[in-house]
Symmetry: C2
Subunit: 371 residues, 2 copies
């Protein structure tokens, strides 16, 4: 292998594929980045066996070939060479010479046969969605997946593709997040569960453009095609929880509140509540007024907010963090929150527009902080 | 005490004085911020017993008084209230009510008598120096103080005030840094040793302006007067090392090199050397060419640089980090480096202008990484 490429292109590709390298790897080859030189293209790829990312850049290929470089070192080096032309030349014994300016580094590389081969998808099952909308879908749901391994399926987001829409759902036993986006060019009707970790890495590679990307589904894999970059992730096996029965539809109290004001008030109130346990804050709901109170051994806070109020007065307690996590991913100026009793979850939905765009459900805490 | 002030002013003052609160405090009162309301001024102060910072802001004082608030919580709260008017009202039992918008937090505060009283300096021994120059002096020296407690005096910088100049010197047994700046309005001739930690905090409160500030010296204290902000630090007791005898003046090899090119080359070479021990890099000096080599089990690097060369050829090894630390604080485009033998330290000085502006001395490593 002998190629010349631009440092900036190589750096960009290395940063992109490095997202698939796990933080704690026991197998050294999984810390590697595979480089294939073929015609006038350099293809870089990396994988942690769950997520794989492949990226192509232009290069002047003098001799075709392939090699696996130590990922961390190679990435640190090319990050310092973004203004240079870089020549990569593979010698015998997997020694690769990296030439730049008047200098060079010789690197001991891995043999390619040790590197896991990629799942190649040839599925015709796909749906189109804009980058912006898919990024939005991910941001509204992955934060509420389960973090522990007690029920592995809950570490993923359910994606339901149906009726020209993709619906994402995640839940961790204390809260549920649901988000819906339109899709294009698809008659698919299928449900899969995607690891939240993979979705978060995919999200980092998406921007807020309206450009449509295609997402392919096949057996136990999902593939996102960004043209010069292909991201493949394993799906989680097993049945997701029947989330529809969790979301009730009878509510005795309904309020409309300014999202930012509620978020600011909760942030301040939780400065005290986070000192204690459970991040316990109490909502006191009455006509026109929401009072949020919190306390710890160093003091107590009362935040008062104007609201539009309907239904029965109610006193109910929450973990402030769960509320703030949901509010953080909402862009709307006003939101609706519906309550039933102090023992039942509340539901946050949009104030206007399509009611179905998103829904966040949060279980209450028992008054006085006892679960 | 009852006062009203602007959230932004209060926030700025709290952030400033919080720099004097130590990271690990065993005495809770030292985590506090003292607030004194007097006439139309609110004075905030904090101390870790070595460094004290006091800052004044304007306020509408309705009832004079004083209190010590829990620093961390108070600072987190006021950071979230920068757009609001804030009222502070001290009730009995050291309970302080903080009112903002329609909301309020009640905070359990500390009695003022528990807070350490500040050293009041009334010295007439002072020198004037521009903020920019004092900041520069600090940045060029504090990085090379000793970090361990073996010789406490080496955790400080020597400041020699003499002949209308202030000279700062620090050393840790492996390297030495020296920097000189002009001072104003002073016939002082005195040497003190200031804790590097205090100097670094002072530096963060300085900007790059030419405005002159006055620095007072008295007994075991130094005080920096920034008008609305007073910083006081204890001095270290004991004799500093006679640094002049460390800096030799016979050199057999002298080179001139582009500072940025040398820095970039060392950064890349040290990617390999930092994997091993000592961050060992070897300099090979000959006519017109400096070659820097490094190696580890995963590879080896050779960085070639054009230099202006004079004297004997030389092969000498260094800890790359010590070199990079010094280069990082130099703004000049070109520097001189003088060498004697592979066993003697090298000396980095300015290429042009006043030779005395700065000097960095670095001890070599023995070839092959053995100390």
């Amino acid at each position: 292998m002998q190629v010349v490429c631009e440092g900036l292109d190589l750096c960009d590709a290395v940063i992109t594929v490095s997202r698939a390298i796990g933080a704690r790897t026991t197998n050294p080859i999984l810390e590697g980045i595979k480089i294939v030189a073929d015609e006038d293209v350099l293809t870089l790829s990396a994988t942690d066996l769950e997520l794989s990312i492949e990226k192509k850049i232009k290069a002047e290929v003098k001799v075709e070939g392939e090699v696996v470089v130590p990922g961390k070192f190679f990435s640190e080096l090319v990050k310092k060479l973004t203004n240079e032309k870089i020549e990569l030349k593979l010698n015998e014994n997997n020694l690769m010479k990296i030439k730049y300016t008047d200098s060079e580094t010789v690197l001991q590389c891995f043999p390619v046969y040790e590197f896991p081969s990629f799942q190649k998808l040839d599925s015709t099952d796909f749906f189109g969605v804009s980058k912006k909308n898919f990024k939005n879908l991910i941001s509204k749901t992955t934060f509420s997946v389960a973090l522990d391994d007690a029920r592995p399926i809950l570490k993923g987001c359910l994606l339901e593709i149906e009726d020209g829409k993709v619906k994402a759902v995640s839940l961790d036993g204390y809260r549920l997040a649901l988000s819906v986006q339109k899709i294009k060019e698809s008659n698919l009707s299928v449900s899969v569960v995607v690891p939240a970790k993979s979705l978060n890495e995919i999200s980092k590679l998406l921007d807020d453009e309206d450009e449509i990307i295609n997402i392919y589904l096949q057996r136990n894999f999902m593939m996102v095609d960004l043209n010069d970059c292909i991201i493949t992730t394993r799906l989680l096996e097993g049945d997701f929880i029947n989330y529809k029965q969790i979301i009730g539809n009878e509510f005795d109290t309904k309020i409309t509140v300014n999202k930012k004001q509620l978020e600011d008030a909760l942030e301040r109130a939780s400065l005290l509540s986070k000192i204690g346990q459970n991040n316990f804050v109490q909502f006191d709901l009455r006509d026109k007024l929401l009072s949020i109170t919190s306390r710890s051994e160093i003091g107590n806070a009362r935040e008062n907010l104007n609201i539009v109020f309907g239904g029965k007065e109610l006193v109910i307690a929450f973990n402030a963090r769960y509320f703030m996590d949901a509010l953080k991913v909402i862009q709307d100026e006003f939101i609706n929150i519906k309550f039933n009793s102090a023992q039942n979850p509340c539901v946050i939905t949009p104030f206007e527009g399509e009611e179905e765009r998103y829904l966040f459900l949060i279980l209450p805490l028992r008054p006085m902080g006892a679960m």
